[in-house]
């Protein structure tokens, strides 16, 4: 991936001009230069069952099609590419079949234990194994949400990214990120409510 002061950066404007002129050598060089940035997003966001090379190819084809719209330097090209990779991944799994909602009877012992833990006053002193179970449970609850909501919760809540970081990766406005995140949290709360209601049923 391109780092500040990367010697390849000096060649990027030439490669962009070459791609715009239809030069295959320039296109190959640009693919090699941007591949790590693309595959990073693809591997992080796409489910394992989708072929990462096919997804990466789709990202690059979109990049070549849209390269005329790009107005920036080598640094912003990497950011722009990551955003393109993110939206491509989102499009690829937009219509995926989501997993059914989690029922109380589906939970394992560790997951019910962590739910019992979060309602106690000393919930913050959870051991690392309990935190791992919490991550698994959150993962299962998130699997029932649309991809965009799932990724927003992961980025903002689990990975503790700032709104600015998410805005840069997604291309959404700051307000858009906050509004979408609010809706995503509401959906997660609803999933949690349904799960807990099962527990409270006689």
């Amino acid at each position: 991936m391109s780092l500040p002061g990367d010697p390849a950066d000096a060649q990027v404007p030439g490669w962009i001009a070459g791609v715009r002129a239809g030069d295959p050598k320039a296109a190959e060089a640009l693919v090699m230069h941007l591949y790590p940035a693309v595959i990073q997003v693809v591997r992080r966001r796409l489910p394992d069952r989708l072929d990462e090379e096919d997804a990466a190819q789709e990202v690059f084809l979109r990049l070549f099609r849209k390269l005329d719209q790009f107005r920036g330097g080598p640094d912003s090209l990497v950011r722009w590419t990551r955003r393109l990779a993110f939206t491509t991944c989102l499009n690829l799994i937009r219509h995926e079949r989501r997993r059914p909602e989690v029922r109380w009877s589906d939970l394992g012992e560790a997951e019910t234990a962590v739910l019992a833990r979060v309602v106690t006053p000393d919930w913050e002193s959870a051991a690392s194994a309990e935190r791992e179970s919490a991550r698994e449970l959150v993962g299962r609850l998130l699997a029932g949400l649309p991809a965009a909501d799932r990724w927003l919760i992961e980025m903002l809540e689990i990975e503790e990214r700032s709104v600015d970081e998410v805005r840069e990766l997604t291309g959404w406005s700051g307000v858009g990120v906050r509004v979408r995140a609010h809706r995503a949290r509401r959906k997660l709360q609803q999933a949690m409510r349904r799960l807990m209601n099962h527990q409270e049923e006689p």
Binding site: Q40, A134, L137
Partner: protein, 103 residues
């Protein structure tokens, strides 16, 4: 505690994993090179997409519709010849003529 929003918030806080997520992201991309043949495959796909269609065989909808219309017309004429032109009355007339000319 009945507040599900608070339960969700606490669960998310327990699930928080800033460091592991960053590490996973670094592992996903750091030091990676495009696999052999991938840049060429992508470039070929892109060039195939941007190439203008080859001249010669360009099957537009007009010739297809014209051909279909001809087929329908010819089938219709055949049907007409078989079922309309030789009505039972024609056949009777024909057999009468035949018998008239016979000695």
């Amino acid at each position: 505690m009945n507040d599900k929003a608070e339960t969700t918030r606490r669960l998310l806080q327990l699930a928080r994993d800033r460091g592991a997520a960053r590490q996973m992201e670094r592992d996903c991309g750091a030091g990676l090179e495009a696999p052999g043949g991938f840049p060429r495959r992508v470039t070929r796909a892109w060039l195939a997409e941007t190439e203008p269609p080859a001249p010669g065989w360009s099957l537009s909808w007009r010739p297809v519709v014209a051909a279909l219309a001809l087929v329908v017309l010819s089938l219709g004429l055949n049907w007409h010849a078989l079922h309309v032109r030789f009505t039972p009355r024609d056949l009777v007339t024909h057999s009468m003529r035949q018998s008239f000319y016979q000695p």
